[in-house]
Amino acid sequence: MDRAKEELVLNFQVQGRDFQGAGVAASQIRRVLKQVGFDPQVVRRAGIAAYEAEMNIVIHAYRGTLSARITAQEIEIVAEDEGPGIADIELAMQEGYSTAPPEVREMGFGAGMGLPNIKRCADGLEIASEVGRGTTLRARIVIKGT
């Protein structure tokens, strides 16, 4: 019998330029994924994708939300922000390319590895952006063996 598939959604507010609070949302997501009992490597990949997506909001945007949609088949990380948007997504995907300002780079962030890292960890990555409005990023991690 096909029973209803459970879905859990977690939402977190993320504040731009809040480097002290940065990473808290991703930590919560990782904690929930561990407690659900996902394979450690799945938790690792989803955790890195969530962390990098959260950091992108902190570094580049004014504010945003980080969400995780969790089912036994798939984990989807969604980062939606109000911010400057990305003019050239293809360029932003290149390793080492970053538009982070110098003071952010001095803190050790903005090395241009965020999006490539998310791409490496995810089974699917979609980015929609409008310059002057904001960016929505969706990263999917498919659970094998289901």
């Binding site: 029973r3 598939k5 459970e6 879905e7 859990l8 977690l10 990473g23 991703a26 930590s27 990782r30 929930v32 561990k34 407690q35 659900v36 009992g37 996902f38 450690p40 490597q41 938790v43 690792r44 955790g47 890195i48 962390y51 990098e52 969790i70 089912t71 036994a72 890292n117 659970i143 289901t146």
Partner: protein, 435 residues
């Protein structure tokens, strides 16, 4: 699976306060029926609860000195941190001599084995092509912490012997070679600063049999050692400062001697760093020396001296001329070339936190947990016997607690009931109404 734990509860002394539950790094303790209960699957024997308990109700059970009688040739393996418990009042050669006065036939310094382990670690790091940073296997509480709380990082634990295990192996082969004994006639006894080492010997994280035959907690034999040291004959130390330095945080990295090595001590600081590794934030580091106790092994939960005074004492011992020459660089090179200190067994995750084996069920429980958490006050007071509101929500979902265990929820229920009683008291039967 059954777990052995050295950390136990003294029922008589436990008053059911909430100090231990709030400090446990794996949320492994609950207060139920007025007594602390340790959840076996989660406990990592770090000894934080021993340190924090105001009633001395948490204890560590190791081996007694009488166990050494079961062996024909008994070798003491003192951890380098042990020196700091006696130094500078007792010079190092007499500290080592005290073990002979206590009934041991020989002393083999764990610090000497640490020199070989450091050389092997350096070699391994230079050749390693895989995920970084690697994590030191030396602190067993950290290894257990990774198994329980950071399962994705188990493969980053360096597959090398701990100085304790290497010392037991070297001491046994030395006794066999020099005394003409059979291996099983030699008893190797680690003198331990902490409860985690006791557990690591009884139940090694790699699943391989330990080379150590018994573990004596320092605190248990301290008075005997102190007395014995007064008249003990001197035994010349062989281990040099590089090995002995392992007793304090940073000493292991110093003896490995490469760049990009990070050291961290204190279990909550270790958690902080491991979370960084998990996030992918710690990228420019090759190796992490992580120790659960403050200041390193000198701050062990079964030590006697103040951890910071002990750290200072060991630092002074390192600078003194009382230590040995250590292994020569050529000797170390030869030992590493032979593949010494490499271990075949890998550490496996210990999935103690999952809500359910079935993912769908676990997600359903997780939703219930989040909903339950939203009804709790979020004060994390611990009065319910769980370490925080989230843990209580988890315990409720697991069927191990109920919402009225929360004093605020209980008070709310009493208020609603009281209002209903008042409401009912105002009502009159129709025959009385209007009079």
């Amino acid at each position: 699976m059954e777990y052995f734990h050295s950390v136990r509860l003294d029922q008589e002394k436990c008053k059911g306060c909430t100090n231990c539950i709030k400090h446990c790094p794996t949320e492994a303790i609950r207060v139920r029926e007025g007594k602390a209960r340790i959840i076996q699957e989660r406990c990592i024997d770090c000894g934080e609860c021993i340190r924090i308990c105001p009633n001395r109700a948490k204890i560590a059970v190791g081996d007694g000195l009488e166990k050494i009688r079961g062996y024909r040739y008994k070798v003491a393996l003192p951890a380098p941190s042990i020196y700091a418990q006696f130094y500078p009042e007792v010079p190092v050669p007499r500290i080592l001599g005290a073990f002979l006065a206590l009934g041991f036939d020989a002393v083999f310094e764990v610090a000497l084995a640490a020199e070989v382990v450091a050389a092997a670690t350096k070699d391994f790091l230079l050749k390693h092509r895989g995920p970084r940073p690697l994590i030191s296997p030396a602190c067993p509480a950290v290894v257990s912490l990774i198994q329980v709380r950071f399962p994705a990082l188990v493969d980053q634990i360096a597959p090398l012997e701990t100085p304790m295990d290497a010392a037991a192996r070297l001491a046994r082969s030395k006794a066999v070679a020099e005394m003409g004994l059979r291996p099983e006639e030699v008893g190797t006894f680690f003198i331990s600063p902490c409860p985690a080492k006791i557990t690591a010997v009884r139940q090694p994280p790699t699943g391989l049999l330990s080379q150590v035959d018994g573990v004596l907690p320092l605190a248990a034999i301290y008075p005997d050692l102190l007395r014995a040291s007064e008249t003990a004959r001197e035994v010349d130390p062989v281990a040099g400062p590089r090995g002995v330095g392992w007793g304090v945080s940073g000493g292991e990295n110093a003896s490995i001697g490469l760049n990009r090595l990070l050291h961290v001590d204190g279990i909550h600081h270790v958690i902080n760093v491991l979370e960084g590794v998990e996030k992918g934030e710690v990228t420019d580091i090759d190796y992490i020396e992580a120790q659960a106790c403050p200041g390193g092994c000198v701050g062990g939960a079964l030590m006697v001296k103040n951890p910071f005074v002990a750290r200072q004492a060991l630092t002074r011992a390192l600078a003194s001329l009382e230590l040995g020459p250590g292994y020569s660089p050529e000797e170390l090179e030869a030992r590493v070339a032979e593949g010494e200190c490499q271990v075949a067994g890998r550490v496996k995750p210990r999935p103690a936190l999952a809500l359910d084996a079935d993912l769908d069920n676990a997600i359903a429980k997780m939703k219930l947990l989040e909903d339950t958490l939203a009804t709790l006050p979020g004060l994390d007071c611990g009065s319910c016997g769980s370490p925080n509101c989230r843990a209580l929500a988890e315990d409720i979902v697991r069927g191990q607690a109920q919402d009225t265990d929360c004093v605020f929820r209980l008070r709310e229920r009493v208020r609603i009931l009281a209002e209903e009683v008042v409401e009912l008291a105002r009502k009159l039967p129709p025959s009385m109404a209007g009079k």
